[in-house]
């Protein structure tokens, strides 16, 4: 796997992780 592909996978995984954490925290705060 090329370095560029690894960075792409890392970026999208990290974004998904951060976004889901934000939604999870907000959901727990509002419910």
């Amino acid at each position: 796997m090329t370095k560029k592909r690894i960075i792409s996978i890392l970026v999208i995984t990290l974004t998904a992780l951060i976004c889901s954490t934000i939604v999870y925290v907000l959901y727990n705060m509002t419910n």
Binding site: K4, I7, S8, V11, I12, T15, A16, C19, I22, V23, L26, Y27, M29, T30, N31
Partner: protein, 211 residues
């Protein structure tokens, strides 16, 4: 200021770019629904354009679209959860069209074409311009449809439990012409949009003829 003016007039999302027509046609039965929807799109646009312009150098080109979609859906979900908790009346007024902002092509379109290649300041100004342009065009369609279709102007009704007072006005009290009920129906939305588009194109043509 020029960027904001450009978003409202030269690149108006509804009348020039013809983007985001689903909520434009669906929620404009009342003036209230129209401006609330416009406000929500403005908030989502501001958040996503701001974040996208900050992270634009970190995100590789081949995963730009999925990353931006994730950001948009997160901001829409956050907005929905906050509205549901603190302003439930507003949440009920918009219904299914609130989560549908996530698939509104204006938001992804501006993130990809403007925010991912511009500075933070320009992206935020563009979001304000496009958001205001969208909100104003929705308000115009909502106003025309409600006046013609119901002979009323609803400024605050669904959200009256939040604001504390109700503001619903009758336009012409003693008339037999209004209401023209077709304007309340989905067909009325297409009719209003078509007529307003024709009117704006007529004005544009006349201005270019004068020049």
């Amino acid at each position: 200021m020029k960027t904001i003016k450009n978003g409202i007039f030269n690149e108006n999302p509804t009348f020039i770019l013809m983007l985001g027509l689903c909520p434009t046609l669906a929620v404009t039965t009342t003036f209230e629904g129209a401006y609330i929807m416009g406000l929500c799109v403005l908030i989502v646009l501001l958040i996503t354009n701001f974040i996208v312009s900050i992270i634009k150098n970190i995100v590789p080109d081949n995963v730009r679209t999925p990353v931006y979609i994730l950001l948009i859906t997160t901001s829409v979900t956050a907005l929905e959860l906050i509205l549901k908790k603190y302003v439930p009346a507003l949440h009920e007024t918009l219904g299914i069209y609130l989560p549908l902002i996530a698939v509104n092509c204006i938001v992804l379109g501006r993130a990809l074409s403007v925010a991912s290649v511009s500075s933070v300041k320009k992206s935020v100004l563009d979001a304000i311009g496009i958001g205001l342009g969208f909100a104003l065009s929705l308000m115009l369609i909502g106003l025309v449809r409600e006046v013609l279709g119901s002979n009323m102007i609803t400024v605050m009704d669904g959200i009256s439990s939040f604001t504390g007072y109700r503001a619903v006005y009758q336009v012409l009290p003693n008339t037999k012409i209004l209401p023209i009920t077709v304007f309340r129906e989905p067909a009325g939305a297409f009719l209003t949009l078509g007529l307003l588009l024709a009117f704006f194109n007529f004005l544009k043509d006349r201005r270019s003829d004068v020049k």
